[in-house]
Assembly symmetry: C2
Homo-oligomer: 423 residues x 2
């Protein structure tokens, strides 16, 4: 590969990926390249198995020209979505279509050896379920904590004991001989929405807010994930909320959004409503089971319990007050709400919308839509798949594809790519 002229290859490959069938003549016109150059580049991509001639374009009198397409089946990527209490692993083709997947409970607190060991088994199992699988060309991983994107290592993740600085990329790359990219789960969710939800793709400036045990945001600016200089953009669980509470957050501060509106807070407040008798429904739950969960609070609200509804509405207002600041600051076209909050649905959504529309700059909400995620869990897997695909088709990764028809797992190359994208 050393010294080979790669120039123009990326442009040709991108144009083939974007088009639904394109001819060499169209490529030459579109890219301003000579026909000889285009033919040489297409030949290179064909010999690497990336591009295939498939079907004929309408003739202009002479022989009908052949259409070029990305060979979606040339390779596989793995998407790995690791959550606090479960994981999903899937294999997808180069168009991002998930071919096989597995989803199961998992405890991220069990540490990287246990969790990544199981990930490796699942990927191997899924590969075994495909008849004659193409090579695995890349892996995208989402984890529930902050990640330094350039190195793919978790950085002081609060709910991932044992993962701080763990070389996830190096481990999986050595096991599967393919490059690996790791990102925060909320960025991965935002990417999944961006690539598979037409409304998100159209908005271009997107804010994904995950409200579960933790609260975090994923940002998309002009169609690109905005990760920030340390890769921790969107970490809004610990911003101070105006309705200050004396509850001490796990971060050590007080009045954190997560500590008054996150899942644990809702369960704690729900138990208080049960104990005080303010919520007869929750009191019944506590008597029967000895505990109250967020799901119980939602169920009680669904049954018309005013105290439970009030609790969810208050959480929605607190989230909405912070979101109003973020909306004024970021001016997204779409806010997607995901995480456990989706199950609380309208009780929370209405309160969030009310706060945002009341407190944001009117211009910033003129065209704003605030929606619950319709993709649910699928967004995480889709995002992990596209995390791998987006990086694989970056120019700096092309040497991987073309060296021997499949990307090597050399971590230094993958890491150089990641660094460039993080800048």
């Amino acid at each position: 590969m050393a010294g080979e002229r790669m120039d123009g290859l990326v442009a040709v490959l991108d144009a083939v990926r974007a088009g639904h069938g394109v001819t060499q003549a169209q490529l030459a016109r579109q890219l301003g390249l000579g026909r000889t150059v285009v033919a040489q580049r297409v030949g290179r991509l064909e010999s690497a198995g990336l591009v295939v001639q498939d079907g004929l374009a309408p003739s202009n009198g002479g022989r009908a020209p052949r259409l070029l397409r990305l060979r979606d089946s040339a390779g596989l990527v793995a998407g790995i979505d690791i959550g606090a209490t479960g994981m999903a692993v899937g294999l997808a083709d180069l168009a991002g279509r998930v071919l096989v997947q597995a989803r199961e409970p998992a405890d991220v607190a069990a540490g990287p050896d246990v969790v990544l060991g199981r990930v490796e088994e699942l990927v191997a199992d899924l590969l075994g379920r495909l008849a004659d699988p193409p090579p695995l060309w890349g892996l995208g991983v989402g984890v529930p904590g902050p990640v330094e994107f350039a190195t793919s290592r978790p950085v002081a993740p609060p709910i991932m004991p044992g993962w701080d600085g763990h070389p996830i990329r190096e481990r999986l790359s050595a096991r599967f001989g393919a490059p690996v990219w790791v990102d925060n789960d909320v960025n991965v969710l935002a990417l999944g929405e961006l690539r598979t939800n037409p409304a998100a793709a159209e908005a271009a400036d997107l804010l994904y807010l995950k409200i579960g045990t933790g609260i975090g945001a994923g940002l998309v600016s002009g169609g690109r994930v905005h990760r920030g200089v340390d890769g921790c953009a969107g970490d809004v669980g610990h911003v101070a909320v105006t309705d200050a509470d004396t509850v001490v957050c796990r971060c050590g501060n007080t009045g954190c959004l997560e500590a008054v509106a996150g899942g644990d807070a809702l369960a704690r407040y729900g138990r208080q409503l049960a104990e005080s008798g303010d919520s007869p429904v929750l009191a019944g739950v506590l008597a029967a089971r000895g505990s109250v969960s967020v799901a119980d609070v939602t169920t009680a609200a669904d049954r018309g319990d005013p105290a439970a509804h009030g609790l969810l509405a208050r959480a929605g207002r607190l989230v909405g007050a912070t979101l109003a600041t973020l909306v004024s600051f970021y001016n997204p076209g779409l806010v997607v709400l995901g995480g456990g909050v989706v199950h609380a649905g309208d009780h929370v959504l209405a309160a969030i919308r009310e706060s945002v529309y009341r407190r944001s700059l009117p211009l910033a909400t003129r065209t704003l839509r605030i929606e619950l995620s319709m993709l649910g869990d699928a967004a995480g897997l889709a995002g992990a798949v596209h995390l791998a695909l987006d990086n694989l088709f970056e120019p700096s990764c092309l040497p991987l594809w073309l060296s021997d028809g499949s990307p090597s797992g050399r971590p230094e190359v993958a890491s150089a790519t990641a660094r460039r994208r993080a800048i």
Copy 2:
């Protein structure tokens, strides 16, 4: 121009702009274009007067190849920085060097006819001060209010009576026969820092916070200005602050950041300190002049007046609390503070830094720098100049350059460009 093959032109022009002297052979290698194509494209740019052969590169044995450079003097751009109480107008070459400028008081509330009339006079005067000026190829304008970037029109700007929806682009474009781009003044300041402050260019993710009578932010994501879908990203003057005040803001809400920490608020609180006698220095000012300004508060604090210092520190803490949320959310590498606050210097800066470092996620402040703007007023003019240059060198603007060697003022072309960039 119709049907002319423009492809590759943009790449060649960009490479010539970026390089400090480059040969045709280097261009061919770098861009993966055939030598014939490069020669044709260079010829086209030379005939348009955009590129010039200037100097010789070291020979490799044969005839020394000629170096290509952007002809900085081929055209002019005008930068127009309209503030609440003053304006600056300058003419720059295609490298962004300001050649002549004028700065004078102005009242934006006098309305667009008065202000833009004076802008037109100043641009004409400055053109007259240049011996044999090249044609004016574009104008960039910053105004102190929200702007719909795609149309270059102000949208309900609170301190610009008469400007709502005013066709600034169409007016100036008709007068000068060149395309016009208009943006919010804080975005323009952020762009000015990005293009002329090496620390800002290096950070790539930048947050410019202007604290004056109004408070607003300019965002840069990965080296591009993030404007949001309605062009109003960064409008944080009216976010609710935790230290809620009963003061009613001009927006109608209470507890707005601007209403408790903006310039008017500081002057009002300063007067209260004078009247109550808590600040002997400010009491003296009030007795002598009948009023207290922000500058008086700063001067009193500089002289060691504890009440005045406390007032500025409190404003800094309130700004810092909001900034902490924005830093956790956006994870910038650099926060630049500009506006009148620069004059209050260390009294405010220390309090802002303290709040941010105390309340932001530790990872988000690991490499964060918070600095006062060193460029001051110059950033606005530089930003307006680069607003025009950045857009002029966009691919969609090239037909303007090449049609007859200078861009026409056809607003529909400029507007199409702006729309594309806003997406």
